[in-house]
Amino acid sequence: MAIESPVAATEAGHVRLNFAKPNQEQIVLLITIVLLVVFGATLNGFATVSNLLNLLRSISILGILGLGMGLIVISRGIDLSEVAIMAGSWAIGLIEVQQGMPPWAAVLLALAVALVIGAINGLMVAFVEAPALFVTLAAGFVIYGLAFWFAPAWVVYAPKDEPVLLFLGAGRILGIPVPILVFAVAAIAMQLFLSRTSIGRFIYSQGDNPEAARLTGIPLRPLIVLEYVLVALLAWLAGLVWIGTTGSIQMAITQGTMIFDVVLVVVIGGISLVGGRGSVYSVVVGCVLIGTLLNAFTIMDVNSEVQNIIKGVVLLAAIVLDNWLHPRDEETARQGD
């Protein structure tokens, strides 16, 4: 039952919107619709097909990263190195392409780098039992330092005419930008994985109560390693889309606040930091809201520092709200919980 309930609850939320007792996803969806209407009415050039497609495309990278972050937060972990994995693995991959490596090999190289980093994160959390927050925070710095050592450039450019590298980010299928499709496919796959496979249900039960999950015989440590590897895999995928969209990878994002956008997307959509709650639906809804805001900020030409302040306040509000909706037992909580 413990395994079933969170999934069942969110699935019920999908099918039958219960407006008498709205859950967080529905509130966020409502806010998003209101914002879309308001921005559409007030901002010039907001409510155009091209802008909306642009909006969707711009959120797809955030969304793919959010799927990974959502997965790990559901399991009661967190991965603050996700953006660093994306940038670091692809910086190494692209620098090798510049040195003459075939693009397909570089893609595999970046994948291998990402998976190895993910596995190390997972091993540190699962076997050394170090708190995930500290491990991944430190990992972010290590990845940045090492990647910069291999690829000493703030911006590493991809070759201009390599469909292997660029299609996922720059291509279009039936007029729809491929990033949107990539996000959609990844989201559906993740939803199926989390709700239809036993491993997915194990992840929910781990997030609900790790100790109970361990006692029922779930191999918690390998599971944790798998989760961090999956996060790294999604980071790699997001990186591939990023390269196609911008034609390069920027190391500066590892130092910026992008990782907090990812956390924001996840938390605001209703994936509680206590774990075991929320679903892919939460990521999608959170993503659309944040994407709408970011798009509107861009149109209104808001200073990036002001954007950071607004996002910070929203995230703080989301954390307080989450804490209020899903209170955790802070008396027994430890650092990094």
Binding site: M124, V128, E129, A130, P131, L133, F134, V135, L137, A138, A139, G140, F141, V142, Y144, G145, L146, F148, W149, P152, T257, F260, V263, L273, N303, E305, V306, N308, I309, K311, G312, V313, L315, L316, I319, V320, N323, W324, P327, E330, E331, T332, A333, R334, Q335, G336, D337
Partner: protein, 712 residues
């Protein structure tokens, strides 16, 4: 013999690195020693590789650079000790740096007001964190991470607006310049202030009620709340304190640099976190001192500063710091979890002991040790009314005393000892007893020391500590397990403290370890002083002053020997073996009426255990790998009473081979023609009639009265 034994035992102790390590790990001061050594090593490395690094000039300028980071690390350590974290320290520092410059250069306030106002800004920013974490109970890590983003963005916005103003305005204030470049007693003003603040914080944290509250919250928030500590308020003020410390740092930085840019304080939260965890302030909370935080801060500061000087690019520094944090967090988690287990695993350090051959106890062999049934039909006194009377003794009025497990001295009196009363409650585990000249019952109490009971039942302390052995890591000044005692004619109380490494409940481990951990201690009532007479003795147990009062007989339970220690005469101060070969583990020794001695054997030696005592490696593997109740242990479950003469020759023995009524025989007393038997685990006191002995002889008379054989 004594010299060989002492030098042998001393060398065994000296050359056991495992023993040293296990005792080192128990020391409070041992953990900070590691980061401290790293700190010194790092400094030496840079001093050797960078020219002029060790000059006073350079040291002072490093101190000036360090102090501001030191404040921030201190702020971080306070939050970690309460079980939280403050990642916004770097941003608060930067904002306070801006605020100080703004107040001074734009608002043109006087320096004093600027300082107070900036500290207030820091406290206010800290109170936001404190409110969120303390009252709204949000997660400290994510909450302060978000306030970090918000504050950092605010600083950047403000910087871009005021950078021009700051660059053109300047003040001419001596006080402000003093904050920036001044020195106190040759030490930079900011470092001097940091030192004073550290002292105050140390006293606050370790000596004040609120400091203890902070530590208690970090150690267990639930327990702290149940103890009535105002958790929310304390947490709130911790973050306010953190903000204020960052503000102090910001003021000094502003005074020194007089500028602000987008890199001020960037990454300091990460460096400060790495530093304090490296210093040994636990992530789990409840553990850490300000000094340990500073050791970590100095390491990180020296490292980053040194790498920059050596021209190492910033990204390498970043990677190195990250790896240090990963390693420090991993070690912190693993160490906190496994420290107790690790110490337990290596605490028992068995040593090689070659026991003398065991004489035969074969029934009918004609040997004085030969088994017989002479104790089977012993008269039982107080069955199920005494719990483990380790020692028994009788007073001048024929009343019988037993020292029991529940910390009492039980007294039996009347016809056939049917009247039972609790003579005194001492506590601990009372063991050996003896009457002094004034008829006070002097008792060796395991876990407490040596206590006395006056004839009216009043309990008084005789002694509970002795002089400390200066070169031992384990503090051996407390008496751990005073076992048996006797009183010399001059009134000095000699007692055995059978182990300095174990307790009453774990003393079989001492026999398994077979190291000279015990000692003979003397209390002199004339001077009221306690001194260790023989240090490093193999499990000293029974102690008995010889009939002539010139020597002490001491039983060694783990060596299965009886020793004689000379109190006077030509051999004064020497120890010699009196009985070399015993079939069992000796316990108490007492005087017999005919000028000989009684000796209790608490257990009988087995060939397996004798072999095991020659195999320390085997016993080491056993205690490490086998659960405790499966261990091969000395067979302390049946024994006998022996009689031996002044020359150490065994004369005869009394046995209960069934072990039913007297399974552990630890003591016996002769009194008016009867022998009374006590045992550590027995449920009774036994009594047998002795044939052909002086049936007016009593112990008290033998010591202090007409029956004394002391020759003067």
């Amino acid at each position: 013999m004594s010299m060989t034994m002492d030098s042998f035992t001393a060398s065994v102790r000296r050359f056991s690195p495992r023993l040293l390590l296990s005792e080192l790990l128990l020391k409070q001061w041992f953990e900070p020693v590691i980061p401290f050594t790293v700190m010194i090593g790092l400094w030496l490395y840079f001093a050797l590789t960078i020219p002029d690094y060790a000059s006073t000039q350079n040291m002072l300028s490093l101190l000036r650079l360090f102090a501001e980071f030191g404040f921030v690390a201190l702020a971080m350590s306070f939050c970690l000790i309460t079980g939280g974290i403050d990642l916004s320290v770097g941003a608060i520092f930067a904002l306070c740096n801006f605020a100080a410059l703004f107040f001074l250069l734009v608002l043109e306030w006087p320096v004093g007001v600027v300082i107070v106002a900036t500290l207030a800004v820091g406290a206010a920013l800290g109170s936001i964190n404190g409110f969120l974490v303390g009252h709204l109970k949000t997660r400290p890590f994510l909450t302060t991470l978000v306030t970090l983003i918000i504050l950092r963005a605010s600083v950047n916005l403000l910087n871009t607006s005021y950078a021009q103003v700051f660059a053109t305005n300047s003040v001419d204030s001596d006080a402000w310049d003093f904050l920036g470049v001044g020195s106190v007693l040759g030490i930079p003003i900011n470092a001097a202030t940091l030192f004073v603040v550290l002292l105050v914080c140390h006293i606050f944290l370790s000596r004040s009620r609120y400091g203890w509250h902070l530590t208690a919250i970090g150690a267990s928030r639930k327990a702290a709340r149940h103890a009535g500590i105002r958790v929310r308020l304390m947490l709130f003020f911790t973050y306010v304190l953190s903000g204020t410390l960052c503000a102090a740092s910001g003021i000094f930085y502003a005074a020194r640099q007089s500028s602000t840019d987008s890199t001020t304080g960037v990454g300091w939260e990460f460096q400060a976190l790495t530093a304090v965890v490296l210093g040994g302030v636990s992530l789990a909370g409840g553990k850490g001192t300000v000094w340990r935080a500073m050791i970590g801060a100095i390491i990180i500061f020296l490292l980053i500063n040194g790498l920059v000087r050596m021209g190492i690019p910033g990204y390498v520094t970043s990677a190195v710091t990250g790896m240090i944090l990963l390693a420090a967090v991993g070690i912190d988690v693993k160490w906190a979890k496994n420290r107790g287990k690790a110490i337990q695993k290596i605490y028992v350090n068995p040593a090689f002991v070659a026991l003398a051959p065991a004489p035969s106890v074969q029934r009918g062999s004609g040997s004085p040790f030969a088994q017989n049934d002479r104790l089977i039909h012993a008269q039982a006194i107080g069955v199920d009314q005494v719990e483990g009377p380790e020692d028994v003794i009788l007073d001048r009025h024929d009343r019988l005393y037993g020292s029991t497990r529940d910390g009492n001295i039980i007294r039996f009196s009347g016809e056939n000892f049917t009247t039972r009363e609790i003579f005194a409650h001492i506590g601990g585990r009372p063991l050996g007893m003896q009457f002094d000249r004034d008829e006070n019952l002097i008792v060796a109490v395991a876990g407490m020391g040596v206590y006395g009971v006056a004839p009216d039942g009043r309990v008084f302390k005789v002694t509970d500590e002795t002089n400390r052995t200066w070169y031992k890591l384990n503090d051996d000044s407390r008496l751990r397990m005073a076992d048996d005692l006797d009183i010399a004619p001059d009134g000095k109380i000699y007692f055995s403290d059978c182990t300095t490494r174990y307790e009453m409940t774990t003393n079989t481990l001492d026999i398994l370890e077979a190291r000279p951990n015990g000692r003979l201690v003397c209390y002199d009532p004339a001077t009221k002083t306690t001194r260790t007479v023989i240090n490093h003795f193999y499990f000293p147990n029974g102690v008995c002053a010889s009939h002539d009062g010139r020597s002490l007989l001491i039983a060694s339970t783990s060596l299965c020997k009886v020793f004689r220690y000379w109190l006077e005469g030509p051999k004064k101060g020497r120890t010699e073996v009196l009985i070399d070969e015993l079939p069992g583990n000796p316990d108490n020794i007492n005087r017999a009426s005919d000028g000989t001695y009684w000796l209790a054997l608490v257990g009988i030696r087995t060939p397996t255990f004798d072999l095991a005592s020659r195999k320390p490696g085997f016993r080491l593997r056993m205690v490490k790998q086998v659960p405790a109740d499966e261990w091969l242990a000395p067979a302390l479950n049946h024994g006998c009473v022996l009689k031996f003469n002044e020359a150490g020759e065994a004369l005869e023995s009394w046995w209960d081979p069934t072990g039913i009524s007297h399974s552990t025989l630890t003591s016996m007393r002769e009194h008016k023609g009867y022998l009374y038997l006590g045992g550590l685990e027995n449920n009774r006191i036994g009594r047998i009639k002795l044939d052909g002995v002086d049936d007016t002889w009593t112990g008290y008379d033998a010591y202090w009265g007409a029956k004394s054989r002391v020759t003067r």
